[in-house]
Symmetry: C2
Subunit: 353 residues, 2 copies
């Protein structure tokens, strides 16, 4: 049903400068999306790492307590480390983990929504103590002319969700940590419901519980409560591993439309959609039975982490839903679908999740 | 330094009726504490299970979607289940877990704080969908004549924190889920700081992060935000596994005093204390170097889950700190210490956790 843009992938690491000359860009993906003035704005996740100079060693970034990022190097043969997972270094003596790359947020802009100019410098860089491993996966929600950007704040303390706000994408105000660890995939609604702000969030429970989508309300966007489970992972199929919020909810005449992601035990990530009443965003009345977008194109089935389509934002323009999505944790792509087709694809769902 | 009460343990399962004739009480422990009128009130965690009739079988409780609790029975030899852990049943075919016991909250009252009368019937029973595995570990905070009781709401959806309020311990108003999974050990301050309510909470992060104590603020006790890490688990020693809130913070002239728990990798639970400025409850200025209470008495070193002392509440009366604590996940005990002795025991701590 989705039509992939012929220019896909729209943005790749090859076209983007690293934040410093001794780093290289690994991924330009999972971008928050909005429109500002007459442009489409993306806040890209840029994953980068130190240039690797010696195949026997791994060079990785480490943020010091004061925020400075230094380059560390370990020998792959060092018995005290385990570098078998390319994404991380496990330090056997301390039990601690370092990531081999670090992400920041970078702004890209476009007049046609297809050809983007990517800023040369980071738009938001990580800060200690909650972001020492980086900032990831921005979502943008415009409420009354202020743009709220939530993102994953990753550190050894866990995966939290941070919030910042801006009115012009130049001046940024940090609003603190809005969800403690482990919680990501937060999508904030563009308007209040029954007087309160609303979001979906995706706790990652320990001991008991699965990776489900929950709702929460807030009087001020900083303090969140009244948590309710909304969409649950399934026992089998494409949603058997996890579900999580994707694009911030979009108002349609039929209700709030949400594009979400789901993954199976093989870490194959697909996109689905669900619908709720405008006044009850915690009650699902329609949901995809099958993926509306699954990894099929070459840039989706191969790359840094293959078989992933993952969205952080979509635009509804002239009854056309334009979904920007990260593919294989490496590039940004665009797919479009008439809104009516998405809505028609949703299966009626009893109020039970 | 602590003086254990000579009547310890004060409450044991033998003195408490099960909620139904076909159940037995396993534990009467981890009680929230307050004073109401001229009595000391405990909200006990009562863990109970179906009477076991056949050694070859395990009978366990299961809550149906409508809230009814039915008794299930599995054969220990059934190849599709694993009952080797006495606390749970693992269903191999579905990958799901059932608990062998279920907890509710029960009120106990005393004029002298030592001899308690335990209600015959539950004070708060679990409700679907967030409490299908039970309600546990109440903490009580009195704010302007209303008693706020937070507790662990446990279900297959995860370990959440629920909030209820009461003015008379008869009529109870549910306030919903205030922390999504996994989060427990919430302790709410008895007064606002800088205009906002404050609590400590203990997220249980997945993938990255340790079991640390965080602070949060709230405009209304229902919505929580501005999360900050306050007390972190250590690399070695009695705090090497986890730390978590214990008694709700107590105002002293020197600052907010908190009694917390810590556990080591052997699951030995001890109590410690920390102190913060009255205006900055997220900045630790004094903290125990060694446990202020460790499992030593017979009822602390043997029982359902041995080597555990765990508090959910303390009273400060005439400069004497009275800590009620669960011992070995089975009984309630009391230990007292002069406030001055606790404060003198705290090591100066730089603002860094």
């Amino acid at each position: 049903m989705f039509s992939r843009n012929v220019h896909n992938p729209l943005i790749t690491p090859r076209g983007v400068a690293a934040s410093r000359p001794d780093f290289e860009v690994l991924g330009t993906f999972n971008a928050g999306v909005t429109t500002y003035r007459d442009e489409v704005i993306l806040l890209l996740r840029i994953a980068e790492r130190p240039l690797q100079t010696d195949p026997k060693c791994v060079r990785y970034p480490e943020m010091l307590p004061d925020g400075e990022i230094v380059v560390r190097e370990v020998n792959r043969d060092d018995e005290h480390i385990d570098a078998s997972d390319p994404r991380l270094i496990f330090h056997r003596r301390t039990g601690k983990v370092s990531l081999t790359s670090m992400s920041h947020l970078r702004l890209a802009r476009s007049h046609d929504g297809i050809h983007f100019t990517v800023d040369e410098h980071p738009w938001l860089v990580a800060q200690p103590p909650y972001e020492t491993f980086g900032v990831e996966d921005a979502r943008i929600t415009c409420i009354e002319n202020t743009y709220y950007v939530n993102y994953s704040a990753v550190s050894a303390l866990g995966i939290c969700t941070g919030l910042i706000s801006t009115r012009d994408f130049v001046n940024v105000e940090r609003q603190g940590i809005i969800f403690p660890p482990s919680n990501r995939d937060v999508t904030i609604f563009p308007e209040r419901v029954n007087g309160l702000y609303v979001c979906y969030h995706r706790p990652m429970p320990a001991l008991l519980g699965s990776l489900n989508i929950w709702s929460a309300t807030s009087p001020d966007l900083k303090h969140w409560g009244n948590h309710q489970v909304v969409v649950t992972a399934q026992d089998q199929g494409w949603e058997a591993g996890r579900v999580g919020g994707g694009a911030p909810p979009i108002r349609t005449p039929q209700g709030w439309l949400s594009i979400y992601h789901a993954a199976d035990p093989n870490d194959r990530y697909c996109l689905g959609a669900f619908l709720t009443p405008l006044e009850e965003p915690w009650r699902v009345i329609g949901r995809s039975r099958t993926p509306i977008l699954a990894p099929e194109a070459a840039y989706e089935t191969s790359g840094f982490f293959p078989n992933v389509v993952f969205t952080c934002g979509a635009l509804l323009q002239n009854d056309l839903l334009k979904v920007y999505y990260g593919a294989s944790d490496e590039v940004i792509a665009l797919a479009e679908i008439p809104l009516a087709d998405v809505l028609a694809s949703l299966a009626d769902t009893p109020s039970k999740t």
